[in-house]
Symmetry: C2
Subunit: 719 residues, 2 copies
C-alpha cells in the first residue's frame, strides 16, 4: 500500500511538472492555471469557479536578435526563428507570497495592502537556448503577470516586434472603451458589446492635435462587464510601464479575444531591450462588485517602492489657474499679433501686443488675490513664456526655451507678490511635443523654478512628437516622461504631465509625478464636450493607474455667458462639478473656473475650499460604470469626511448609508444638492445647501438630476 | 534720331528685365546667366568663354506647406501645387559686390580674400503669391548660389521634399568620387568618367558601421576634370551647411547631369524650415589649373564670420594618442571581459579585466612622457570611460555617460601628471551614434573637462543614429553637431568630430570646431586599406570644406610586425607619411603611431616634431587629383617653410622650384626623401635625410617612389 501511494505521489508530482501549474489567490477565490501546449505558453483565470479567461497565449515576437555586431536589423520581418513564443520547455517554477501593508506618500487611504501568491515559471527555448521567466501574481482582486528576461549568453539585446499576451474571454461582454491610438487618449468613451467594437470603431473618435488611431484596437485600462444575476466586472490594464512602449488591446470581436498591441517607434520597433529586463505587468482586475474594482490598488502594488531619498516636498495641492479663459477663447496664451517668431532673435518687446494676453502682471495679481483669499496653495499661469505665437502645428523643434517670460509677465515681482500672500506659482512647460528640445532646456528651466521657488510644473505635449516618428506612447517617450520626473526630483519639483502616457501606478516609484492628464478632461467641455456619463467611466479606466488632473469646478457651465449664441456648455450641473472633487481621486485638484464665477456662488464654492486632496480612508459606497459613482473619503489626519455622488444622463436616487462614520461621534454635515428644478441643460446652477447633524446610523435618500450629483462635507461636532 | 535711340534703349531694358540676367566675376573670366523659362528658373556658367554648365534647373519641391494648424502633413507626396519650382515671375534683381580681406583664426594663410560680384533675383510664384530669392555670388574661382526665403504672409513654415538644384555639364568628364550615403563617407575614392558611375556604383563601397547608400549618387565635394590641352577642373560642393540636410549628387550618366539629393529623416522629410531662411550655398569651383582648385577659399568666404566673443582658447594642436594600438587590435577600448553592462548599475571594479585595456594609468603615463619629451601639445586617450564592453551594434541609447572613468584610469592623477610635463590630455566622447544621450550628458561632460583642464574633445558617431530613423547627415544631426560646437564654446573647448558630417567652411563661423574626420582616415589602413592615390584625392574633395583629422604619421606600416602573417599594411612609404603633415592642411595634427616605432626613427620623427600646424602662407606648387600634390607652407609668425610632396601608385619626379622663398634670404633645408630602394610594399621604411643650404633661385628635381613622397623643413640661416 505504501509503495503504491508513494508511486502515485511521484507520478502526480511528475505530472504537475510536465503539464500545468495552478496558482490560487490568498483568499482562494481566484485560480490561475499555466500550461505549455506544444511548447507554447498559455494561462487561464477563474474567479469563484467561473471562467474569466480561457487558455490565452503568451510570448513575444522579436526582430532579429541584435546581439550581433553592426546594425540592429529590423528588416527580417518574416524570420520567426528569433521569436520567443514557441518551442519552450519548463525548467522550473518558483512560488512566493507576500502580505504587506505600505503607506503611499499621497493616496486614497493611509495604508495599501499588497497581498498575493506568486508563481514564476522558468522556460527554456531549446532551439535557441534562451531562457525567459513568466511571473504571475494572484491577488484577492485579480491577476498580474509579466515577462522577465534574465541576462544570459544568448539573450542580451533584442528588439520587440510584438508582445503576444492574449486575453481570451468565453463570452461577449459589455465594454467601456476608447479607440486605440499611439498619440492620444482624449476621446469620448463608447459603451458597446465587445462584439460591436469593430463596427463602431471608425466613428468612435474625433480629431486631435496629434493622433495615430490603431484600427480595431481599444485603449487600456479597459472596463468590461458580463451581465447577469451575479455580474462579473473585469478591468484589463497595465502596471509599471518603464522603458517599454504603452500597450493597446486589439479586438477579435468574433472570439471575444483581446491581443496586446504595443506602440511602435518611427521604424516599427516596439522596444529596444537589454537584459536583465522585466516587462510591465498585464493586469486583470475582477469582481462581482463594481465598487471593488474602483477600490483595487493592484496597479500600485505591482510597482516598486520609491528610491527617492527626500519626499518631504511632495504635497497635496489645490490650485487655481490663468487657464480656463484661454481654453474657452476669451483670452490668449500668445502675447503678440505675430505669427512667426524666432526665440533668441525676436525681440518680443517690439511686437504688437494682441491685447488678449492673459498672463499679464495685472491679471495674474488678481488671480493671486482671489486664490489667496480662498485658501488655495498655488496658481497655475499658462502663456507666461515666449513662443506661443507659432507654438503649434509646424514641427518646430526650438519652440520654447522655458526661461524667457513675455514682456508683460514680471516673473520676480509676481512670485514675490504671490509668496507675500502665501500662494506659490505653478510653472507651465508646454513642449508642443518637442521632447528633444525640452530635454535640452530642462536643467535651465528647473533652475529658474528653484530660483523663484516654484514647487511644481505642469508639462504639456500637445502635437506631434520630436524626435520625429516617435509617438506619445512609444518607448522613447515613455523614457522621456520618466527622465523628466527623475530630473524634477533632483530639483525637488512635482510634475503634473498633460498629453503624456496614462499612469500605470508609477506614482509609487516616482511620487513627485503626482498627476497626469492623459484623458479627456474638462478642457474638452470647450472643445466639443464631454458626455454626461464620462465622469462615471473615467474612474473605472484612466484613474485605475493613478491620479488625473481633470480640472473640475466649472460653475459657469454655459459658454454663451461669454459669447452670444455660443452653444458650448459643460454637460453637468454645478453640484456635479463639486462632487467630482471626491469621486475623482487626485492629490492635485484645480478650481478651474474664473474667480468672477466663483464670486457669484461663494456658498457653493465653500465646498471646493473645504474639500481635502489627501486621504486616510476611502469608501466606494456605490458605483456602476457609465451610470453613477458615490464615494466617501476621510481627510488626512482628521475625522472629517467628504462624500461625492454623480450620475450619468439619467436622474437617479441613492440611498446613502452613513454607517462608514465613527459610531461614537456626532457630525455636522453640509449637503450640496441639485435643486429640484436643476437640469444640466436648462438650469445647471440651481442648487440647495443644507446643514444637518448626522450619525453613523443615518440613512438618507439622495436625489440626483440628470448629469447631476451631490456633495457632502462632514465634520465631527466638537464636544 | 534721338527718339529712336531712346526707344531702343527702353526696349533693351525691358528685354533684360523680362529674360536673362548676366553676372560676371570681378576678373571677368566667369559669366553666369540666370533665366526664367516658362516660369522655371535656370542658370548656366561660362569660364573664359567656355561653357562649364549648360542651363540647369533651380527650385525646390515641398511637402504640404505646414503653415496650417494641426499636423505637418508629409502624406501628399503627389500634390505639386506647393512646390517652389514653377510659375515664377521675376520681381526684381539686386546687384552687389565685395572685395575684402579677412583673417582666419587658424588657417592656411594669414589673409583670405573674399572678392565677388553678387546677383540676387527675387521671384514671385503667382499662383501661391510666394516670394523666393535666388542669390548668386561669382568669385574669381567660381560660383556659389543659394535660395533665400523671406518671412512673408504665405511662406512661414514648410517641409522640403527635395531641392531641385541641377548641374548640367555639356560633356562627359573624369570624376573622383565616392558613393552617396546618408551615414558614411568612409569609402575608397573611385576614378571614372561620369558616364561610368552607375555601372561602377554598386561595387564602389564596402561595409561600414553605419551606412545607407544612395543609389547612383555620389558625395560632395565632387572633383571633376575635362581633359584637353587646356583642361578644365571643376569642384562641386556645398558651403555653410546649417539647419539643413547634407546634399548628395544624383548622376544622370547619359546627360552628364547631377541632381541635388538631400538626406532625409526617418519620415522622408528633407528639412523643416521656418522663414526667414537661407539654404546652404551650392558651390562650383572652376579652373584650368588643379593647383588653383586646391587654393580656393570659396567655401570659407561663403560662411559668416564668427560671433564668438573669445577665441583665444582656440589653438593649433599637435598630439599623440592612446589609439593606434586599439585600431590595429593590439589593445582594447574595453576594460573587462563583460559583454553586457548597465551604466550606473554595473560596478566595473567587480568585473574581470580583459588584460588588454590600453587606457590604464601605467601606459598613459608612458605616452605622456614620450609626448612631453618630444614637444607635443596634447595626448588623446580613448577607452578611458565606462561602457565600451557593449558600446556598439545594439542601438543602446544610454551607452556612455562621459563622466565615469574605468577603475584603472585615475583621471585626476593623470591630468596632474600630464600638466606637470606640459601636456594637456585630449578628451574622447564616443557617442555610438546615440546623439540624444550625448545631448543629455553634454553639460556634465564638459564640466568634467573644465574641472581637469581638458582643452579639446574628440567626438565620435560610430553606428546608427539615435533618434532612430535620423541619419548622420539629416537635418536633426546637422543641428546636433552645431549645438555641440556651440555648447563646447560656452566651456571654451575645441571640438574634433569623427563620423560627423563633412565640413562646409563652418570653421569660419564656429572656429572651435577645429577639425573633423568625415572621410576614410588612417584607421582604414587597418580596416581594409587606403589606396596609394587616396591622399592625392582627399585634398580635392573632403578637405575643400575644412581640416580633416586624418591622423598620419604611421612609421611601422606593416602590421605583421605585431601579428605574424598579418597582411594588413599602410600603403605608403614612411616619408610619404611625413609629407602628409604639409599636404593635408589641419590645425590639429596627430602623430598616430606608437612611441616605440618613433623611437626607432628619431631622425625622421624630427620632421613631425618640427612641422607647424598653423600658417601664414601656403603655395600649391604642383597637383593633379589622383596623381600627386606638392605643397609649401610658411609657418605662422616665422620665416620657416615646410614642403610636402606625395605621389600615387606611380613613382614620379617633381621639379621643385624654390622661388617661393624670400629672395634676400639663405635657408638651411633638411630633405626627407624616399631611399632609392624604398618601396611602399617591400621596403617602406627606407629613407634618406640630407641637409642643404638653399635660396629662392634653387631648382631641385625630387624623386618619389611609388606611393612615396618627400618632406622638407626650411629655416633661414641666422646671419
Amino acid at each position: 500500500m505504501r509503495k503504491i501511494s508513494f508511486g502515485i505521489l511521484c507520478f502526480s508530482m511528475m505530472f504537475t511538472g510536465l503539464t500545468a501549474q495552478s496558482l490560487k489567490s490568498p483568499d482562494g477565490q481566484f485560480e490561475m492555471n499555466f500550461s505549455l501546449k506544444n511548447g507554447v505558453p498559455f494561462y487561464n483565470l477563474k474567479y469563484k469557479g467561473e471562467t474569466v479567461l480561457e487558455d490565452s497565449k503568451l510570448g513575444l515576437r522579436l526582430f532579429k536578435d541584435s546581439n550581433i555586431k553592426f546594425n540592429t536589423d529590423l528588416s527580417n520581418a518574416n524570420d520567426k526563428a528569433q521569436d520567443l513564443n514557441y518551442g519552450f520547455e519548463k525548467v522550473s517554477d518558483k512560488r512566493d507570497s507576500k502580505n504587506e501593508t505600505w503607506q503611499p506618500i499621497l493616496g486614497e487611504k493611509k495604508n495599501y495592502i499588497n497581498n498575493y501568491n506568486e508563481l514564476a515559471v522558468s522556460l527554456n527555448q531549446k532551439a535557441t537556448d534562451r531562457n525567459i521567466v513568466i511571473k504571475f501574481r494572484l491577488f484577492n482582486d485579480g491577476l498580474g503577470f509579466r515577462y522577465e528576461f534574465p541576462q544570459q549568453k544568448n539573450l542580451n539585446y533584442f528588439v520587440v516586434k510584438e508582445e503576444d499576451s492574449d486575453f481570451d474571454f468565453p463570452t461577449d461582454m459589455k465594454a467601456w472603451w476608447i479607440a486605440g491610438d499611439y498619440d492620444s487618449q482624449e476621446y469620448q468613451y463608447q459603451t458597446s458589446n465587445v462584439s460591436e467594437i469593430p463596427a463602431k470603431w471608425a466613428t468612435s473618435y474625433d480629431s486631435n492635435a496629434s493622433q495615430t488611431p490603431v484600427k480595431d484596437a481599444v485603449q487600456s485600462p479597459l472596463m468590461l462587464k458580463k451581465e447577469g444575476k451575479q455580474p462579473l466586472y473585469v478591468n484589463l490594464g497595465e502596471a509599471a510601464l518603464i522603458d517599454y512602449p504603452a500597450s493597446h488591446l486589439e479586438v477579435d470581436a468574433k472570439n471575444f479575444k483581446f491581443k496586446t498591441h504595443l506602440t511602435p517607434d518611427g521604424q516599427g520597433a516596439k522596444g529596444y531591450i537589454q537584459t536583465p529586463f522585466n516587462t510591465p505587468w498585464r493586469t486583470v482586475i475582477v469582481s462581482n462588485k463594481a465598487e471593488e474594482v474602483l477600490d483595487s490598488k493592484m496597479m500600485f502594488n505591482l510597482n516598486e517602492p520609491t528610491k527617492y531619498k527626500d519626499t518631504s516636498y511632495i504635497k497635496p495641492t489645490k490650485y487655481m489657474g490663468v487657464w480656463w479663459e484661454m481654453i474657452i477663447g476669451k483670452s490668449q496664451w500668445a502675447y503678440s499679433t505675430a505669427d512667426n517668431v524666432h526665440l533668441g532673435k525676436t525681440d518680443f518687446k517690439t511686437l504688437t501686443p494682441n491685447g488678449k494676453h492673459a498672463a499679464n502682471n495685472t491679471k495674474v495679481k488678481e488671480y493671486i488675490d482671489f486664490a489667496s483669499a480662498n485658501g488655495f496653495d498655488a496658481l497655475l499661469i499658462e502663456g507666461w513664456n515666449e513662443g506661443w505665437e507659432d507654438w503649434f502645428g509646424h514641427s518646430k523643434e526650438f519652440v520654447f526655451d522655458f526661461v524667457s517670460p513675455y514682456p508683460d509677465f514680471d516673473i520676480k515681482m509676481l512670485n514675490d507678490y504671490a509668496h507675500s500672500k502665501n500662494i506659490k506659482l505653478m510653472m507651465h512647460h508646454e513642449t508642443s511635443g518637442s521632447a528633444t528640445n525640452y530635454e535640452l532646456w530642462a536643467d535651465k528651466a528647473f533652475q529658474l523654478m528653484n530660483k523663484y521657488n516654484y514647487p511644481s510644473v505642469k508639462t504639456g505635449y500637445v502635437g506631434n512628437i520630436i524626435p520625429r516618428g516617435e509617438h506619445h506612447y512609444s518607448q522613447w517617450m515613455i523614457n522621456h516622461y520618466r527622465r523628466i520626473a527623475e530630473k524634477a526630483n533632483d530639483y525637488k519639483i512635482m510634475v503634473n504631465s498633460h498629453e503624456s502616457v496614462r499612469p500605470t501606478g508609477l506614482s509609487r516609484t516616482y511620487p513627485n509625478w503626482i498627476a497626469a492628464e492623459a484623458a479627456r478632461g474638462t478642457e474638452f467641455d470647450a472643445f466639443g464636450g464631454n458626455n454626461p456619463d464620462h465622469h462615471t467611466i473615467l474612474p473605472f479606466t484612466r484613474f485605475m493607474g493613478g491620479p488625473m488632473d481633470y480640472t473640475p469646478g466649472i460653475f459657469q457651465t454655459k459658454l454663451d455667458y461669454y459669447f452670444p449664441n455660443d452653444t458650448r456648455f459643460v454637460k453637468t450641473t454645478l453640484v456635479k462639478q463639486l462632487a467630482l472633487y471626491v469621486v475623482m481621486y487626485s492629490p492635485l485638484q484645480m478650481a478651474a473656473d474664473l474667480p468672477e464665477n466663483y464670486a457669484k456662488h461663494m456658498d457653493a464654492f465653500q465646498f471646493i475650499k473645504d474639500v481635502a486632496a489627501d486621504w486616510d480612508d476611502s469608501k466606494i459606497l456605490g458605483a456602476e460604470p457609465g451610470d453613477f459613482i458615490v464615494t466617501a473619503r476621510k481627510a488626512k489626519a482628521t475625522d472629517n469626511w467628504f462624500v461625492g455622488g454623480i450620475t450619468d444622463e439619467n436622474k437617479r436616487n441613492f440611498d446613502l448609508d452613513f454607517s462608514f462614520l465613527d459610531k461614537d461621534k456626532k457630525y455636522e454635515a453640509i449637503f450640496y444638492e441639485d435643486a429640484a428644478d436643476a437640469d444640466y441643460v436648462n438650469n445647471p446652477q440651481a442648487y440647495k445647501i443644507t446643514k444637518k447633524v448626522i450619525t453613523s446610523k443615518d440613512k438618507i435618500k439622495m436625489n440626483m438630476v440628470r448629469s447631476g450629483g451631490f456633495a457632502i462635507s462632514i465634520k465631527p461636532v466638537s464636544k
